[in-house]
């Protein structure tokens, strides 16, 4: 029994070390005083300071946040609509096909999604003159398309768990379908929508591949900027930035988890 538990603990330790050592090394090196990112030169916070003086990084961060907020909001709007339609409009012909199709952007290789969106934007521009330049608008649209799939799935599963007779009861008491949606359905799926929004926000903030495809000159998101800087060698300020992003994302994950837990209890 004791030997067994020692084995289990070492497996656990190895597993978690595998997951978290790389992240930990980035955090440690973000406090490195040395100019060289991989040589330890004592503790310092200077790279965090440098970071906020670098307007290139701040611009990229602002673009990323702007895109993430807009894309998450749009994805929540469309994803909720899709989720409600799929779980509440009864058994229509081809419903399973639609359910499968809504999840396909989740499994599609990002390169393909990125490429197809780029082709779409280019041909749209040739035909209609819009989008005249690729950047904030195109990245937001691209992120919305894949993030709404996640929102739709979350909302749909929440609705599947929700007692349909709640909506019927409201209708029975004199609520017209649209009122019932506002009075009953939306308040009850609000936690799922919030969780979906947070997930969409995180996904958008993370994305490098799709953004690289559909962005143009002058429109670099934070992951794009980091990736291009790293190609010229890792600088310590990138470590500091990475640490901040990790902090931000973890906070988001914990928040989403807490909301999910409350949702389960309700």
């Amino acid at each position: 029994m004791k030997g067994n538990s020692r084995f289990v603990i070492s497996v656990l330790a190895f597993g978690y070390a595998f997951l978290y050592l790389p992240l930990l090394s980035v955090i440690v090196y973000s406090f490195n005083d040395s100019q060289l990112a991989t040589v330890w030169g004592g503790f310092s916070m200077r790279w965090y300071g440098e970071l906020f003086k670098n307007s290139q990084i701040i611009d990229a961060l602002m673009l990323s946040l702007k895109v993430a907020v807009s894309a998450a909001t749009m994805a929540t709007l469309f994803g909720t609509m899709a989720g409600v339609a799929l779980s509440r409009f009864g058994r229509f012909r081809g419903r399973n096909l639609f359910t499968g199709m809504i999840t396909s952007p989740m499994v599609m290789p990002e390169v393909i999604t990125g490429l197809s969106l780029l082709l779409l934007f280019v041909s749209l521009q040739q035909l209609t003159g819009w989008p005249s330049q690729r950047g904030y608008g195109t990245i937001t649209i691209a992120h919305t398309t894949f993030a709404m799939a996640y929102v739709a799935v979350i909302v749909q599963s929440r609705l599947a768990a929700m007692d349909e007779s709640l909506e019927e009861a409201a209708m029975d008491l004199g609520g017209r379908p649209f009122r019932v949606m506002i009075d009953i359905t939306l308040p009850l799926i609000a936690p799922a929508m919030l969780a979906g929004w947070l997930l969409a926000f995180t996904l958008s903030l993370d994305d490098l591949v799709i953004a690289s495809f559909v962005s143009g000159p002058g429109g670099s998101t934070l992951p794009m900027l980091i990736f291009s800087k790293v190609k010229l060698g890792v600088t310590p300020d990138i470590n500091a930035l990475a640490t901040l992003i990790m902090l931000f994302v973890s906070a988001g994950v914990v928040l989403a988890w807490a909301i999910g837990r409350r949702m389960q209890k309700a």
């Binding site: 007779s165 409201a170 209708m171 029975d172 009122r179």
Partner: protein, 369 residues
């Protein structure tokens, strides 16, 4: 009850059908329910009773047929326009609203003045004895209290008909018995027509003025609880409501309202009272309820009665009554129940005792096999 005094029915269902693809859930049923009646639709799961109720509420669109309420065709009215309210099996109490908000919801949709809404909500909450619970959220209530919120919420709209889907299924036994009588009192007080759907025959018997027994989308019998229990129209109804012993046989002789049936299952002929005696030689089945059978140690003298000899194979003691399973010489097992009238620690009959069981011809039923 005031029911059955008027000629035109309050609720009339005409040849109502509902098909789901190839499956026929409700098969051209017709039904008349009187004003103020407490009517039950009784059946096993999948018999179509809930689909029928949902068509009355407006949640399902009938494939064919019509529904009239108080002389008005409501077949195509959406649920939010019907003067009908429903209490759901899950109660469907809105979890994000307080008890008060739940009950007031229906009145708000009617755009009633605030004061009237408030007073009617208060009145209804006191009717269901939830006066002090108005500010609570549903997750702070017990199952029985939640049910009463659902009831108050449906009744506050003063509907012409209240539909109840398995109203007592989720309550424990004691609470169920209590609630049964409370429901009947409320129905009496408000005079609203109740239509109850249930799979529980006891519940249907106690609550209702009339019962419709449903099977495979059709009504097998509609009648008062007594009619359905004592004069079941066929074997299905006899079997579904309560317990019944059946003996298959062939009609030997019939006349003067008495049928004599030769039954191989009990090794002798049995006599039963019957208004419309079947032809000689036709296959029938004699049915007797366990409580109509007497059990005795010695052979009774009365030659009018059917009398069979057997051995106690099994017995069960229920406190108020005892249940016996008697094996006849032919191998057929007959269920007999008898009231424990005397207080005694000893058993009247024991395992493997030789006993005689008998019943009056008028207690037996003649059914189609």
């Amino acid at each position: 009850m005031t029911a059955r005094s008027s000629n035109s029915a309050f609720i009339e269902v005409r040849k109502l059908s509902k098909h789901f693809g190839d499956f026929v859930a409700v098969d051209a049923v017709s039904l008349k329910i009187e004003r103020g009646e407490l009517f039950s639709i009784l059946g096993g799961s999948g018999c179509g009773k809930t689909t029928l109720l949902r068509m009355l509420a407006g949640f399902e669109t009938p494939t064919s047929g019509q529904v009239f309420l108080d002389g008005v065709d409501i077949t195509n009215q959406p649920p939010y326009e019907r003067p009908v309210n429903m209490m759901f099996q899950s109660y469907a109490v809105f979890p994000h609203m307080t008890v008060e908000q739940n009950v007031a919801y229906g009145l708000k949709k009617e755009r009633l003045p605030k004061e009237e809404t408030a007073s009617r909500v208060r009145e209804m909450l006191s009717l269901v004895k939830l006066d002090d619970f108005g500010a609570r959220k549903p997750n702070q209530l017990s199952g029985g209290q939640r049910q009463r919120v659902a009831l108050a919420r449906a009744l506050v709209k003063k509907p012409k008909v209240l539909l109840l889907d398995e109203p007592l299924a989720a309550l424990d036994k004691k609470l169920r018995e209590h609630t049964q009588f409370e429901l009947m009192n409320i129905q009496d007080e408000l005079g609203i027509t109740f239509v109850v759907v249930t799979h529980d025959q006891e519940e249907a018997m106690i609550l209702s003025n009339r019962i419709a027994v449903m099977e495979k989308g059709r009504f097998e019998q509609i009648g008062t609880p007594k009619e359905v229990y004592e004069f079941p129209r066929n074997r299905f109804v006899a079997d579904f409501i309560g317990t019944i012993n059946t003996f298959d046989g062939v009609v030997q002789n019939s006349g003067d309202g008495i049928v004599t049936v030769a039954s191989d299952e009990c090794g002798q002929s049995l006599r039963a009272l019957c208004d419309k005696p079947p032809k000689n030689g036709s296959d029938v089945c004699i049915a007797v309820r366990p409580e109509k059978i007497f059990i005795s140690q010695y052979k009774p003298d009365n030659h009018e009665d059917a009398c069979l000899e057997g051995v106690v194979e099994d017995l069960g003691y229920f406190g108020n009554l005892s249940l016996y399973r008697i094996r006849l010489a032919t191998g057929k097992v007959v269920q007999v129940s008898s009231q424990n009238r005397r207080r005694s620690i000893e058993r009247s009959f024991d395992w493997d005792d030789n006993v005689y069981i008998s019943w009056r011809p008028r207690s037996a039923l003649v059914l189609e096999p």
